[in-house]
Symmetry: C2
Subunit: 451 residues, 2 copies
């Protein structure tokens, strides 16, 4: 049995690896990398900054280097391939399957690509060229072109014999394709049925209902579909309905990031690609853009405050309490926004449901708004002993929190309709709304009531 520790990317493991690196214990490092599987090596490389990572490459056994490269993040793969000669790359892709070769060559420059192409075994080359002929955001680009195909009317026993004679079924095959003479897909047969059903029966008797993807479908849509159907493998057909390969869910989920992860990053103003070990310059630049957008919001809020110089000049308590109003609205709004964006991602929002949701959020906003408005009012009264200020802040909190919840529903739904990613711009628009409404209602009411 394998030792569990060696196969997980734990803090202890990273510390151990760092210790070996510090001690330059090359024997132990070589041994460690011999024992790690491909996934573990890839995850380890992703857990170090570029400088350390460059040291680690040398310890990866040559026979798995290609598979590791096909597995790591694209950025890291590109950084590594950049420094290699064409003959290095030829060496690396030897023995890889078409999908893996395509991944590696994707990040190589044209010259290397051409040279390596020429060195490939003819069948693999044809498959790689075929994969590369697809745009890099469609299903065809990421499918496994090799499937096990059998004709109708064949017995299960014959299928099994055919597989053994031709050494078919690689690690990723999970279904047998039943096709007609034109390679039109008629059905699929699961490996489970192939084993458990009477061997003299014909494949037709155990054909499953099946679901196919078009090779030109956007890979992100395909990922969402596979996730919602919990499918691991799906046949891929071209627009003529002919079988061209199968899509392995693991390959797609790897390239299309987890939806919640993307939402999280977008809502916090972090780009899709940013990881802990993204280099400083790249991080600073991608985050800087978002900071610039936020600055517009912040100055818009400042402009609104600026309209109320008169009242602020008279009553300094308003300046002190002002951020409380904006902050409570901001939190209430972002709670709603998060729930609605997740609901949209899960495809739960349509028609009547939207009306139900407006209604819900209005009630949640008003009830929490009422409770916290009274609390804030109470604290403000204890602090400043001023009934008018208390009245103004109580009303402003209630208004801002109620509107914040409605905006939390309205903004993502409108953005979705405009085909803008609600996670990406929803948070900044919402903050603008809660800041502006917060300052406007608080200082506006103060001007009306107190001044």
């Amino acid at each position: 049995m394998r030792d569990e520790e060696k196969y997980t990317n734990t803090e202890e493991q990273l510390l151990y690896l760092q210790k070996l690196l510090d001690e330059e214990d090359t024997d132990a490092l070589n041994e460690l990398f011999q024992e790690l599987d491909i996934l573990a090596i890839a995850r380890t490389l992703e857990s170090f900054p570029a400088k350390t990572r460059d040291l680690l490459w040398d310890y990866i056994p040559d026979d798995v280097l290609g598979e590791v490269l096909a597995e790591v993040d694209e950025d890291i793969r590109a950084d590594y391939i950049e420094d290699l000669s064409a003959s290095d790359v030829e060496q690396i892709v030897r023995g890889l399957d078409a999908q893996e070769v395509a991944e590696v060559l994707d990040v190589a420059d044209e010259e290397i690509k051409t040279t390596v192409y020429a060195s490939l075994d003819q069948e693999i080359r044809a498959q790689v060229e075929n994969l590369h002929a697809y745009e890099d955001d469609v299903v065809g680009r990421y499918m496994d072109p090799e499937t096990v195909n059998v004709k109708q009317g064949v017995s299960l026993e014959a299928v099994q014999r055919y597989i053994r004679i031709h050494h078919l079924l690689d690690d990723e095959s999970q279904q047998i394709m039943i096709t007609d003479k034109d390679k039109r897909l008629l059905g699929t047969l699961s490996l489970i049925d192939l084993i458990k059903q009477p061997q003299e029966a014909v494949v037709d008797d155990y054909m499953d209902d099946f679901f196919t993807l078009n090779d030109q479908m956007k890979v992100s849509d395909a990922a969402a579909l596979l996730r919602s159907k919990e499918l691991h493998f799906v046949p891929v057909c071209d627009s003529d309905g002919l079988l061209v390969g199968q899509l392995n869910a693991a390959d797609v989920l790897e390239i299309t990031q987890d939806d919640a992860d993307m939402t999280l990053k977008h809502m916090s103003g972090v780009s899709d690609e940013e990881e802990v070990f993204t280099p400083i310059a790249r991080s600073a630049k991608s985050r800087g853009i978002w900071l610039g957008i936020n600055l517009l919001t912040a100055f818009l809020a400042a402009f609104v405050i600026g309209q109320f110089e008169a009242v602020l000049d008279q009553i300094v308590a308003l300046a002190i309490l002002m951020p409380v109003v904006a902050s409570m609205g901001g939190i209430a709004g972002s709670q709603t926004l998060t729930v609605v964006i997740r609901g949209l991602a899960l495809g739960q929002l349509a028609g009547n449901n939207k009306r139900w949701l407006y209604n819900k959020e209005l009630w949640v906003g008003m009830s929490n708004g009422l409770v916290w408005a009274l609390v804030v009012g109470g604290i403000s009264y204890l602090w400043f002993s001023d009934l008018l200020i208390t009245l103004v802040i109580t009303l402003a909190i209630f208004i801002n929190m109620s509107l914040a919840n409605l905006s939390g529903v309205l903004i993502p739904l409108v953005l979705k309709r405009l085909q803008i990613d609600p996670a990406l711009s929803g948070a900044v628009i919402l903050t603008t709304v809660t800041d502006v409404v917060g300052f406007l209602s608080f200082l506006g009411l103060a001007t009306l009531i107190i001044l």
Copy 2:
């Protein structure tokens, strides 16, 4: 081939369903639910508020009701089971496997549980009781107790025959367990090898390295492991090393929410369980708690501002620009926080890497801080034509953004060490820091320089 539309939870599908409900077209509704598979029905139920959902239950065909119940969110399952009699539940669990029965009975009250237990087939009952004997957060509770076990030295041909004679291998089986006479696991055999390898060979020749889980392991840890290793099925052993079942990744990923999804909710102050269709009262309560915590932060910031009444009273421009400082720090900090929390979740942060990360974030913070401090300073000068105010806000933005980035690293790392979920409290602590540092540096510098 099945019609794609019917199997995805699209907006069109929800609208169509709502139309049928509005028209009370029971025939069409019955027909629609006949065609949907179990997953699709479960996801559909999750896409409606409780009131509409209650109408939908009636259209679910009796023969899939049990499986649908085992599949939907626990809240929804509990709501439905609540209103049923023991004999209704008996009916529902008939034909379900032990795992599904355990899920359904989990939400039933003790009385119904006892009655239904008594009605179960003896083998299933023993399995269900065994599952229920585990705590509800450990692997043993969610495993499939039925595995296909064979002895060493048996030929592949014999294994295949054994499976066919005894009708073994259900839809979820993906590996054959090779055990000794005490049920100690010796290895696993993949279905692929069972088919493709020479049938006269013995199972010993194709035993895979395997990885097992202990039945008492926390299910959330198991989910993280299965995800990082991309495993779909793992044998489960008890503390004596004896095989007790297998864990299906799909079952675990269903109950332990996606990590990024949880992080997103925690960072926005939304509870784990909240979905779009969570009832109003429950949403209001769980969000209210978070709003209360935020209020402490907001008043702390107000208190800091309050310390500078003197300078605010003299220069109203400070009150106008004040939120800009806090806002830029808040965004910069939450960008860092998001990246660091994801890095922690992926197990990428240990030892030297942390030092590298502090260094990176300090540089990112200072470089973006410098750029945006100058921009804000410039705009402020254009607005107020006051060199001292310009100087104060430029310095304050630079200080707040640099410290925000360092706090974005420090806060989650410290919280992790204290075994507190960094996503849950990280955001609120960070906001406190960026607000307090922002107001303190801005108004403090103003007092020093201008007053």
